[in-house]
């Protein structure tokens, strides 16, 4: 019912091309997250699917039906806006009821549906209040209830949590995941926050500049980035990516063909205080500690290589290497199975001896 298929969708404003021939299938019942830097076209895609924005070319199918020319309200979807877009003149009840009234659902049925959804999102006590008297979290719940009450096959969410404070955001993240499991509808969620994307999405679609850079599960997009953009956008701090030419002490053999960049996650580097790390197959580097951040369970060091190149290294707190001071000379060792290679087109290439092995 709720499968969304985009075929060669284009969108441009005047000369400015926002989306270039984009094709994407969003599976029925999935929690798909569109993530990317601002201006990458993710919100535009959402609005094209909703029918609020006209595409320049291509086709959009919702539940196998081409929705060309179909009004937004008739597409069997509901949308939750970043700023909630609640009707300020209406009470919570009227806000939720408006969409039902418009499709002429009888009063009794409306009341039953409103009771049901407000029970789920915990708004029963606020039904007769106007939105301006609600907190940010409560407003977001009204927006959710307004979407849910229509029982759509598809929920579109445009950065719905970005106006909330960090704690509330985390709580609502969990509630959204629960809600998705409970409703079984397709969720398409747009965000620029990679943490949100990683924690919520059953599938992540990473976009940049109107194109899809990678489409994968959270696990795979983190561990097997398809390109440099992917490796740098996902993960905090991002993957360390070095040019092959910058490395004098490069060890592992054999190299896959056409390698130009070498990357590794900050937590995969092992620190050895006696400069040279352990031997074995991998990458050894010499570095100086230039900064230390306490993240709670982990410590984030920023280190500098001999060629002044800065890297991030993450280690667990309460180990002997968690108290390194500024200026300490250290050795870094990254095992070759944690090293990711990219060619000069910034695409990932796999080392011949470990091709397709996904064991980390």
């Amino acid at each position: 019912m709720g499968e969304i298929r985009l075929e060669n969708v284009d969108k441009s404003y005047g000369d400015k091309e926002i989306i270039k021939s984009l094709s994407l299938t969003i599976e029925d019942g999935s929690f798909t997250v569109l993530v990317g830097p601002s201006g990458c076209g993710k919100s535009t895609i959402l609005r094209i699917i909703a029918g609020l924005e006209k595409k320049t070319g291509g086709n959009v199918f919702i539940g196998n039906k081409n929705v060309e020319g179909v009004e937004p309200g008739k597409r069997n979807l509901a949308m939750v806006f970043q700023n909630y877009a609640l009707y300020p003149t209406m009470t919570v009840r009227q806000n939720i009821e408006f969409g039902l009234k418009n499709i002429k659902i009888p009063k009794q049925e409306r009341d039953r549906l409103i009771d049901e959804v407000t029970g789920i999102v915990g708004l029963t006590a606020h039904l007769e209040k106007k939105p301006q008297f609600l907190s940010g979290g409560e407003r977001q719940r009204v927006a959710l209830a307004r979407a849910m009450v229509k029982k759509p096959a598809v929920f579109l969410m445009d950065e719905p949590l970005s106006n909330l404070d960090a704690k509330l955001r985390q709580q609502l993240r969990l509630e959204l995941i629960e809600l998705h499991n409970r409703l079984g509808a397709t969720f398409l969620y747009v965000t620029h926050d990679q943490v949100e994307a990683m924690s919520m999405g059953t599938k992540i679609v990473l976009m940049d500049n109107g194109r899809i850079m990678q489409e994968d599960t959270a696990h795979d997009i983190y561990n097997y980035p398809k390109n440099v953009f992917s490796s740098k956008f996902i993960g905090s701090p991002p993957m360390n990516v070095l040019e092959l030419g910058e490395l004098s002490e490069y060890l592992p053999t054999p190299l896959p063909a056409g390698v130009k960049f070498v990357g590794f996650r900050p937590e995969k580097a092992k620190i050895a205080e006696n400069r040279r790390g352990s031997g074995g197959d991998g990458l050894s580097l010499e570095a100086t500690v230039t900064g230390r951040e306490m993240l709670g369970s982990e410590i984030l060091y920023s280190v500098e290589l001999t060629n002044k190149r800065k890297l991030a290294v993450k280690v667990m707190d309460d180990t002997e290497i968690s108290q390194l001071e500024y200026g300490t000379q250290i050795g870094l060792f990254i095992s070759s199975r944690h090293i990711i290679f990219f060619n000069d087109a910034e695409e990932r290439v796999t080392a011949p001896y470990r091709a397709e092995s996904k064991v980390i």
Binding site: M79, M90, G99
Partner: protein
């Protein structure tokens, strides 16, 4: 602790200058209010109990002026004229202004041109407007309206000489003058309605009329509330058009309170009688305003 102590004036200063200062500061405003508003109101009420021709001595006659007014059929007609004029003027001006504003809200070249055009009457003096419209509405075919209508085989109409039409003709002039300004104010209010509300409404399957009544109209309700009140008050104060175009005629059909007060007071020098009418006008405006606030304020959504 220390901070709150410092904010309070010390006890020794609570006399003299610091006590008097706020009253001295508001004195100029209060003085103007007292001399030009409060005193005249009371003096007007005082005058309404007297008989006076502005020259001779004043004679106290009690409620005589009021009794005469309530017995007069002309006065009942004047009150009716005033109310009918007010209702026609307010409803037509506001409805037309909303329609015009809805049309003008898209900022195209044409809409900006029309906006300027519709606003222009506001900068012309009402007396000049009245002269022009007197000619437009001349009863025979030398008036432009009747001349144009004659090609359609209609008329001629006695725009200002037909007692069933004259009051409406005056309303027409008032609308022509004020609809542009009203539309301008409504347009700016429409412009402050965020687009996402309309997007949400589209997703909610709202029809055009549901969108208009449930979103647009409600969002501009504070502006409408204010405009209607302003229009009610200005309708009660109508004078120039009547004075230039009809002199209250034909057969008292366009005689309104303010015009009649002027006539009685400054042409017939019946100051007491005119003052009694002014008191009634004041009470009417007061009552209508209070009623208006009570009836409509709960429907207004302030952001």
């Amino acid at each position: 602790m220390e901070r709150s102590v410092r904010l309070k004036p010390r006890n020794g200063e609570r006399t003299g200058w610091s006590m008097a200062r706020p009253y001295i500061l508001v004195l100029p405003a209060i003085a103007i209010l007292a001399v030009f508003y409060i005193y005249p109101i009371f003096y007007n009420v005082y005058l309404s109990f007297h008989s006076w021709n502005m020259r001779g001595s004043m004679k106290f006659i009690g409620l005589q002026n009021y009794l005469e007014l309530f017995k007069s059929a002309d006065f009942r007609q004047i009150i009716m004229n005033t109310l009918v004029y007010m209702l026609m003027n307010v409803s037509l001006t506001v409805v037309l202004a909303i329609a015009l504003a809805m049309f003008l809200r898209k900022s195209t070249l044409i809409s900006r041109f029309i906006q300027t055009l519709s606003f222009t009457p506001n900068i012309i003096s009402l007396v000049s407007i009245s002269m022009i419209w007197s000619w437009l509405m001349t009863a025979d075919e030398s008036g432009l309206f009747n001349y144009v209508l004659s090609f359609l085989g209609l008329g001629p109409f006695g725009w200002l000489s037909d007692k069933h039409l004259a009051l409406f003709s005056l309303v027409l002039v008032a609308i022509w003058k004020s609809v542009g300004l009203n539309a301008l104010i409504i347009t700016s209010s429409l412009g402050s309605i965020p687009d996402y509300l309309y997007e949400a409404a589209r997703l909610d399957n709202a029809s055009k009329s549901a969108t208009f009544f449930s979103i647009t109209l409600k969002m501009i309700s504070p502006t409408l509330f204010f405009l209607i009140l302003m229009n009610i008050i200005s309708s009660f104060e109508v004078f120039e058009t009547i004075n230039v175009m009809t002199q209250g005629g034909p057969d008292n059909a366009t005689n309104t309170l303010v015009f009649s007060i002027y006539k009685q007071g400054f042409e017939y020098y019946r100051i007491g009688y005119a003052s009694a009418m002014a008191v009634i006008l004041m009470i009417m405006i007061g009552l209508i305003t209070v009623f208006y606030f009570k009836a409509l304020e709960k429907n207004v959504h302030y952001r």
